[in-house]
Symmetry: none
DNA sequence: ATTACTAAAAGACGAGTAA
DNA sequence: TTTACTCGTCTTTTAGTAA
């Protein structure tokens, strides 16, 4: 994922209005050959970070919403580096019922052993899905996804990587997990914990909860 | 030049205090093998972006001044991307303690009445001193000192003229003031506001702040 | 336990060139 | 002119290990 090229395009204004630029010209900006420049633009397009309209003598490049989100996340990281520790961060939302995929993925040994090792608990095989309120959606974007979960390959297929950050709900420590290449709506978070949170905290769909982000 | 690894180290706090971390542990953070993690740390050291103290069971990592400068430049790029829209200029720096002269001058009626008239607020009798980072020093020089403050004569002595420009810190509107015949080092700005900024924003020496230049 | 070398595999790059 | 393919080369990464 070529954040440096995306940043370059943004510095040239492609996040505001379509940017007319050939691969030859982009090559000079990233100090590479025309071939590499063209390949990188193609890759960014394949990752849905930019859109292109290619014509006979160049192309019109725009950064997508995905791309802008990624850049915003990067900005937030850097701002986080230079701003001291703020107080506790709390995300608020309502319990919803997910599509039940979480249960399958979390149970897989390839992920489960990583959760045990990196989070320090064996997750209950299921996720609690929470729909964040408007403010929390915004806050969530600023939270560093500090713990990486690697992908792995089964005999049948490949399982992608992801990331997570630690949280607490009432007295239970858990984590918000985010698949890397997710098209999950940004207002929903999936939470894992050592126990069945729904039962432990007697939660029903629609219940409002506070999710405290911990260090 | 591996800015992503450097950023990761900064997110782990290595720009603030030495970070105890083995190459195995760093590998999980950058999602690579131990060998690659070790090599990248070595490369960052060779480029003078970090220093390392290697011992038998790990290493102590600190980001150097060079490294911090590079991260700051990166932050500036991203801020540029997202402030391009509004045309906002942001100066960054750390709170420092000044020599306390500001308090005396601002309280003088000859200046105070001008601040009320030209800035629209009665300044708290004291200044917040900020030491700008390298980039901000540069940016600051390009800002028009749009509001002039006239000098005046007391029965005893003459008080020189100066100029200022409007700024905002968080939710507080204020101004950077510059005495005309100042021998102030160029990396320091003095800020006035209707309130005691130190108390209002709970600022301490060394706190990083963003000073937004407003119209 | 560590860090980090060597050698082989994997991936990125650019020259030539087709469309 | 473009974009972008193939393919040979160069660079980066990882596995296996030494220290």
């Amino acid at each position: 994922m070529d954040i440096l090229s995306l940043k370059k395009l943004a510095l040239l204004g492609a996040h505001q209005k379509p940017l007319e630029m050939s691969s030859v010209e982009f090559a000079t900006h990233i100090d590479s050959s025309q071939q590499t420049a063209a390949r990188k633009l193609k890759a960014l397009e394949d990752e849905n970070l930019i859109t292109r309209i290619i014509h006979n003598d160049g192309q019109l490049i725009s950064i997508t919403k995905n791309g802008i989100d990624l850049l915003q996340k990067e900005l937030n990281d850097y701002q986080g580096i230079f701003s001291g520790n703020e107080g506790t961060i709390i995300l608020r939302g309502k319990i919803i019922t997910g599509i039940g995929e979480g249960q399958y993925y979390i149970g897989l040994d390839g992920y489960r052993t990583q959760f045990i090792e990196k989070l320090g608990f064996d997750p209950y095989p299921g996720t609690l899905n929470v729909r964040l309120d408007a403010i929390s959606i915004h806050i969530r974007k600023k939270i560093a996804q500090s713990i990486n979960i690697s992908g792995f390959t089964d005999q049948n297929r490949t399982f992608g990587k992801g990331s997570c950050f630690r949280i607490r709900i009432s007295d239970v420590e858990g984590a918000v997990i985010t698949p890397e290449r997710s098209h999950y709506p940004e207002d929903i978070v999936e939470i894992i914990a050592p126990v069945n949170l729904r039962e432990h905290l007697e939660l029903k769909d629609g219940t409002n909860i506070n999710v405290e982000v911990t260090k």
